[in-house]
Symmetry: C2
């Protein structure tokens, strides 16, 4: 897919998603029953309804049962609470914004972490930052789910073999230096933390400056720590980084190509184009958008929830 004159491979998220989709289909086929996802729609936003329709379509393609439920927004919290206790439901997704205010967060907190396909429950988020990977430490059978967008980027990095599977699980980015441009609470900061917990040295960049996320020399720390790199800008980070991940909203910002190192892997997760076309003269791999991966990763999360759900029911029936 690289142009004839450049050594850069341009990789579309759809082609990466395809590989994961096949894996996800096989896993669903091996389950005793199709997993069941409920979508909760409580607004008139056409974008939210479109996303709901898209979920329905993708679920059908993957052999997942999907039920869309519409609520008056004042009734949604009760609806979620009931769904938490409904044994026929494996996973839940809420189409935000609902109130389009801080109140939406309390809705997020209502969804049980055992059914939260989006990985946004406070306990899951906290586990992610703390580098706690299982809900049932030390038995370690049930993974603590990760939020979909950062997880989609991790899966892309795995596919591109930036994760070195020769190294031990949890340390497979050891030796990699990664710049993440965007430090939002939704994607940028969790992503930086995830990558650092996997062993990378991460330079997390936003308009306020650069922070280093790292487990320290020899990965001696169990989880990442972050510290301000005083006076640092992209000028310092980019020439060091084998991987550059950018997600700046708006069309003003462009990653300065001349600072990117030869053979770097560049990934854009903004809806805008953060990289200019000449990135292909420098990068070894360029992923221009990641959208298609996010939904596959959501279904992957659903499978894990369905498995854990079955295991929980089996334990309960045995203990009766």
């Amino acid at each position: 897919m690289a142009s004839s004159t450049s050594s850069c491979k341009v990789v579309l998220a759809s082609s990466i998603a395809k590989a994961l989709t096949n894996q996800v289909r096989d896993e669903i086929a091996s389950l005793p029953r199709p997993p069941h996802l409920h979508g909760f729609l409580a607004n008139q936003d056409p974008a939210a309804r479109m996303y709901a329709d898209w979920t329905a379509k993708t679920c059908k393609e993957h052999g997942v049962e999907f039920t869309l439920r519409e609520f008056d927004r004042e009734d949604l919290e009760d609806g979620l609470q009931n769904a938490n206790h409904d044994d026929s439901i494996d996973g839940m997704i809420v189409y935000y914004p609902v109130f389009d205010s801080r109140r939406d967060q309390t809705l997020q907190w209502t969804v049980s972490m055992y059914k939260d396909v989006e990985g946004l429950s406070p306990q899951l988020i906290s586990n992610m930052y703390q580098n706690i990977r299982f809900l049932d430490v030390p038995t370690n059978t049930q993974k603590s789910l990760l939020p979909c967008t950062p997880l989609a980027i991790v899966k892309i990095l795995e596919h591109l073999q930036i994760y070195n599977t020769f190294l031990d699980y949890g340390k497979r980015l050891f030796g990699k230096r990664i710049t993440v441009i965007n430090r939002s609470e939704v994607v940028g900061r969790p992503l930086a933390a995830l990558l650092a917990n996997d062993g990378a040295e991460v330079y997390s960049v936003d308009v306020t400056g650069v922070q280093q996320f790292s487990r320290g020399s020899g990965l001696k720390k169990q989880k990442h720590e972050s510290r301000e790199l005083e006076g640092w800008t992209l000028e310092q980070c980019l020439p060091l980084s084998e991987v550059v991940i950018s997600g700046v909203p708006g069309d003003k910002f462009k990653v300065p190509t001349y600072l990117i190192r030869e053979g770097a892997v560049c990934i854009n997760f903004s809806t805008e184009k953060n990289f200019t076309p000449d990135v292909k003269d420098k990068a070894s791999i360029f992923v221009p958008a990641i959208g298609k991966m996010t939904i596959v990763v959501l279904i992957r999360n659903l499978i894990q929830l369905a498995r854990a759900h079955d295991a929980r029911r089996e334990r309960e029936s045995r203990s009766l």
Copy 2:
């Protein structure tokens, strides 16, 4: 195998060789007949005889026929010439030193490149530097063999997933910076050229200074070029390099650990220890020696020669 307090994986060449050995055994089993290697011994050096015995043992283990032939050194050149034309022989190995002078090189030049398991024929060496990978361009069915020690190191890097198989063949080290300490004609310089031809930026270091081997920005050049990096020392190379490969003879030289970057992959191909034990506090992977790989790679070369030999005979019999 890492010590409990460090994140470094210490990887023995024997464990890497084991994986390759299985692959080699399967390939030999799939051949119409066992390949036949002739060893040529023409000196009284006990080390040479030990190496010959070791070849015999390894060949037996892999299902390869091995014949050791002893010569007076003055008769060796004729012996090699005859073997070149002997259809029952697939590969040849000469146990050097024979004359222990420049004259040994003319022996090397006598061995046909179609039977040279060690990959030391002038045409093969030239192809390697020129990044010409096949003997029959553009048909590309018969690989131009590589010399055993550099090839053993390439195979180690493949095993450690430093070669990224997501990238196209011939560009799988794009984006990697590698320091090679030793620029001998036997190993260091061919190795630096090989790695640069595969896409790496290589810093080739010896007592005279540092040379950069590289295919240039975006790998636009078909093969590597080298240039002096004026004023550079290990001080400049090591902090940049994801991979450090050292093969300095003697016990005086040690790679300064404090200059090695966090999470680097460190490989020693000297018979002495070029790295100090504290390398494990910095490196993600440390390979302390490579000897065990060299012989397996030699047998792998033999298989390729045997295959090409059969194909040649078939072509000849068809054209009769």
